[in-house]
């Protein structure tokens, strides 16, 4: 059996309030668009990118490095899309950040 494609990359949490409710929500919604399995790892703790609770329990503050890993047909595209959210700090303005807490 052919092994499934795997795609990986490191990302950094760039928004000032860390990976809180709203970015976690966006991340889950983005992950739902793909068929592949997507895992996010922080210091050995691995969670499912489709579980908002899992993401929140990572407690990822601003500046935290995370490893994104996707396994499946569309792994490559998934990593690009999710990585883009991290790179753009989830498109949060400071205004929204404050309001979201």
């Amino acid at each position: 059996m052919m092994s499934e494609p795997i795609s990986e990359r490191m990302v950094t949490v760039r928004n000032s309030q860390g990976l809180h409710m709203r970015p976690a929500d966006l991340l889950v919604k983005a992950a739902m668009k793909f068929r592949c399995r997507i895992e996010i790892e922080k210091d050995g703790q691995i969670v499912d990118a489709r579980s908002i609770l899992g993401l929140l329990t990572l407690g990822a503050q601003a500046g935290t490095n995370l490893n994104l890993k996707a396994i499946g047909d569309d792994a490559q595209e998934a990593i690009v899309a999710l990585g883009d959210l991290f790179d753009n700090a989830f498109y949060e303005t400071d205004n929204q950040t404050e309001a979201a807490i």
């Binding site: 309030q17 860390g18 809180h20 409710m21 709203r22 976690a24 929500d25 889950v28 919604k29 499912d48 489709r50 579980s51 908002i52 609770l53 899992g54 929140l56 329990t57 407690g59 503050q61 205004n95 929204q96 309001a99 979201a100 807490i101």
Partner: protein
């Protein structure tokens, strides 16, 4: 197992589920299901998730329509939490494998996450917990949880946890279902404590913040003797408490045997035991516990927790009810002691910076003669039904006493003119609870028939410590040598003038302190009904000279702590078998 320590303000031990009274939450009404119900209960959970997530979806949509981007983000994220398969799966497992009710499963799982978020600290702390609480509320609402704003929906016995309870909230508790309560705020001398004792509901107050640790539905032990609250006790602890409870019960039965015997010391000094009550319904209990009469009827409780002040007729009926139930003993009715922590419907003390030093008690009554007259009319009309005595609270100056007496005289004249029968010889007395009254007592005793020393307020006013404030509660010590000296001086002055003296503060309800008071010359003690049997037992076990030795030693000491230790040591030496029980 987790423990809290607070002030033990009402004795007794209860073991029951916790009910957290938070003003906007939902309370678990059922915690377990039978094995047969497991799968239907899991389906109920699924349906609750569907409805709750629809609610959040609707909120998200509304926020979006109103272009409230930030709110939309929050609601959307909360909906995402509800959609998280992991959350629902964890709850389902608790239902399907361990017979949890859907309510308890939802609450337990969400609380687990709330605590995990709390441990992370930083910005994740408080706000995540609030989001989780919102979800818990939404689910419990769907699952038939009862809004905690109302205690009316209680179906099974609970121990109540609340930030604070007012005296009137306490008075309205259903004793059959509320087996005890615990508050974050409050101190040992507050009125909530007094009401709890009167109702014989075990209570612990002033434990500090517990909202982080306690959940509704948790099993708890509330130890009103030691001021301890134990969450989720282990089997050993629970067994110990149950055993001690059985011991206490057999001790109580042994006290019952003393019921019809007089309260005399071994050398035949007679001590009169009277009861403190808040409601007419307590008289029956008081008499069955061996009270010789009522030493303090706190009438302000007629006024608390109702929308309108009681009418003259309603008060008259209450006083008659007490007099009839007492049969032929004295009934000391204290006039309205409203103000500070006891406010009636039409009162407010918001403008007062120091309500305990403000317009309360007799001061309030003298300032509102129309209200005061109604009460005096009701009392004087009832006076023909028994040995009713009138007592004014918080008298600080002779002028206050004279004004109050004048008002009594004027009301009496009115009533006679209206054709009512009024007794001529109604005895009139005063509370001695302000140091000024002790200083001037040689003058006061010429104008009253009796005095009653109120140790609660006397302690508060002597030591300048707010008795309801937990921050200074350690200073509130009725056995402080300064307070003992004032009591001793009052008893001497009253004895010389040959007028009756009683002590009606909480101090007289503790057997060890009661012996100290007897040693100081007190011969009448008024205490909550629940305390009377053990007081009698203690009195019958000692001699007057032993009490005097306790008092002489206490008066020579320098600090409240020394007095406390000395009095308890003497008590332990005299009554070793009672120490275990109180």
């Amino acid at each position: 197992m987790q423990e809290f320590q607070g002030f033990p303000v009402s004795p007794g031990v209860s073991i029951a589920q916790a009910l957290l009274l938070d003003r906007e939450g939902y309370q678990i009404t059922r915690s377990r299901v039978s094995t047969a119900e497991r799968s239907s209960e899991a389906e109920r959970l699924d349906r609750a998730f569907v409805v709750a997530s629809e609610q959040f979806a609707k909120r998200t949509e509304e926020a979006s329509e109103k272009q409230l981007g930030d709110l939309q983000g929050i609601f959307s994220a909360q909906q995402q939490l509800l959609l998280d398969p992991r959350l629902r799966e964890e709850m389902r497992q608790l239902i399907l494998r361990r017979s949890f009710s859907a309510q308890l499963a939802a609450s337990q799982v969400l609380n687990g996450y709330a605590q995990a978020f709390r441990r992370m600290g930083g910005t994740f702390l408080a706000e995540r917990v609030g989001d989780i609480r919102d979800i818990e509320r939404a689910l419990l609402e769907q699952l038939g949880g009862a809004p905690t704003t109302s205690l009316a929906n209680l179906q099974s016995p609970v121990i109540l946890f609340s930030h604070d309870l007012t005296p009137s909230e306490t008075a309205n508790l259903d004793k059959k279902l509320v087996l005890g309560f615990c508050t974050e705020a409050g101190g040992p001398g507050g009125h909530t404590a007094i009401v709890a004792r009167g109702m014989e509901i075990p209570a612990v107050v002033g434990v500090g913040s517990f909202s982080q640790q306690i959940r509704g539905g948790m099993e708890v032990i509330l130890d009103g003797y030691r001021g301890r609250v134990i969450l989720e006790p282990d089997a050993q602890t629970k067994e110990n408490y149950l055993r001690r409870g059985r011991d206490r019960q057999s001790f109580a039965i042994s006290l019952d045997a003393l019921r019809d015997l007089p309260a005399v010391t071994q050398d035949k000094t007679h001590i009169e035991l009277l009861a403190n009550i808040e409601f007419p319904s307590e008289v029956a209990t008081a008499m069955s516990r061996g009270a010789g009469g009522i030493g303090l009827y706190r009438t302000e409780f007629l006024y608390l927790g109702r929308k309108e002040d009681p009418s003259e007729e309603q008060q008259y009926e209450a006083y008659c009810e007490v007099l009839k139930a007492v049969d032929h003993g004295q009934v000391i009715i204290r006039t309205l002691d409203l103000g500070a922590d006891k406010l009636s419907a039409r009162q407010t003390n918001e403008s007062e910076a120091n309500p305990f030093l403000g317009l309360r008690s007799i001061r309030y009554c003298l300032r509102n003669p129309s209200l005061f007259r109604i009460q005096l009319r009701a009392m004087l009309r009832a006076s023909v039904e028994g040995d009713l005595r009138i007592m004014f609270p918080m008298i600080a100056t002779l002028n206050e006493l004279r004004s109050a007496r004048l008002l009594v005289r004027s009301v009496m004249d009115d009533l006679r003119e209206e054709g009512y029968a009024v007794r001529d010889d109604v005895k009139i007395g005063m509370m001695v609870e302000v140091p000024a009254a002790v200083m001037m007592l040689d003058h006061f005793v010429r104008e009253v028939d009796f005095i009653s020393i109120g140790t609660n307020d006397l302690t508060q006013y002597t030591l300048a410590v707010d008795r309801g404030n937990e921050a200074v509660a350690d200073l509130y010590q009725a056995v402080d040598p300064s307070v003992l000296r004032l009591i001793s001086q009052s008893v001497k002055v009253a004895d010389q003038a040959e007028i009756a003296t009683s002590v009606c503060g909480e101090m007289s309800s503790h057997p060890a302190y009661a012996l100290l008071l007897i040693g100081l010359g007190v011969r009448t003690l008024s205490a909550p009904p629940s305390a009377l049997p053990q007081l009698k037992k203690a009195i019958r076990s000692v001699s007057l000279s032993q009490c005097q030795a306790i008092a002489e030693r206490a008066l020579r000491l320098e600090t409240a702590h020394q007095v406390h230790t000395a009095v308890h040591d003497s008590f332990a030496a005299l009554l070793p078998d009672m120490v275990q029980q109180i």
